[in-house]
Symmetry: C2
Subunit: 226 residues, 2 copies
């Protein structure tokens, strides 16, 4: 099964091509704002490099959020069109789960993916890695940092990952002291989105283009103003 995976939910944008769980190629770019111009050329380049086109895909994986509203919409529109044009299913994968997936080894440790949601909020969750899977301990959502950090255990080591680390490093230290570990992994997640998406597609849990839904957790500014 060949899967094309796309993430445009943060500044760390990425496109990956997978054959089952094997990464064939990926393109990662740290881009402030230009996904709408850069996403299609990146997809085109990756496919051409591997001698493929959209019709060769067996399915698509999309980082469906949470994250930047604009980024989510660009990724969603693009992948919806691929799915609509090819008739192949899409798996919508959580950005937070994909970040946590990077740290699923070794076993039985706590992983906290943390994204800066602006306006003083974070998108976050707490996962525990068990037998190569992730169990959601604190549910994914938009939180105030203080509210969220009080939901986490303070007596166990927690691995933090994501761009929220930069914004809230001092506060994390304040709450968790020597129990906090900061991941140095890259923030590019198209490969992990692809791995999690492949699992869904394999189990026929992909959806049709028309059914694809973003993961927002809160209203966009535009909607708030409505």
């Amino acid at each position: 099964m060949i899967v094309l995976s796309v993430d445009t939910t943060t500044f760390a944008g990425s496109v990956a091509l997978l054959e089952k769980t094997k990464l064939l190629a990926e393109f990662n770019i740290d881009s402030p704002s230009t996904y709408s111009e850069r996403l299609l050329p990146a997809v085109d380049f990756i496919l051409k490099t591997n001698g493929m086109n959209i019709k060769d895909m067996d399915g698509f994986a999309l980082a469906a959020g949470p994250g930047s509203f604009t980024g989510i919409r660009i990724g969603l529109s693009t992948v919806k069109s691929f799915s609509y044009a090819s008739g192949k299913p899409v798996a919508a994968v959580s950005t937070l789960k994909a970040l946590a997936w990077k740290l699923r080894h070794p076993q039985n440790h706590l992983i906290c993916p943390l994204l800066d949601a602006k306006k003083g909020e974070i998108y976050a969750a707490l996962f525990e890695s068990r037998a190569g899977k992730l169990k959601e301990i604190v549910p994914q959502g938009a939180y105030s940092p203080d509210r969220f950090f009080t939901l986490l255990p303070s007596n166990r080591i927690i691995f933090f990952i994501g761009n929220g680390i930069n914004a809230y490093r001092d506060k994390i230290f304040q709450y968790f002291k020597d129990k906090a570990r900061f991941s140095h992994r890259s923030a590019f997640i198209a490969f992990e989105i692809g791995l999690l998406g492949y699992e869904l597609l394999r189990k026929k849990k992909g959806v049709k283009a028309q059914e694809l839904k973003p993961i927002y957790f809160r209203k966009s500014q535009a909607e708030e103003k409505d």
Copy 2:
């Protein structure tokens, strides 16, 4: 300082563009044999995506080996030409050191990059991470696995990384039992080559195109037959 970094020394090929220590973009491909066709288009795509061309580079970083002889030669020829054409220096970086660089956090632990050198040999070294730097404890070279493993301490945890893990996993267990840790990081190293290359270039330790040397550790089959 803008640095273009290239690694074609193993099947995990990669190209990265850095501004000092910041990754602007990278392209990673798992390719068995086609670097000679794929390297230039990948460089071209990465540069175009960032609105740059070769003349905008302040220097180049090259994974100079050890690794595949053919891969090393392709990377070397390509980067030599970039350097010659632009008049900008090149930093030659060890593949083994770049692999180990991925694991330099946390402090004071042992890292063993291991590449399958075929013919029953490995390219390997042992590093210790200290204050964000790597100290070479067992020198880089081509070894027989048994010879190399007896050079490593058996009473400390060692993190193994690189494609040699797959070929020699059982033997590593045999020698190091519960002290062995296997890294799940990706094998793409152009970014780490770029980080180490930038450090060299910054200290004026880059070389001219004509002075660029590969890191082989042993003769190629072609040379052996001479």
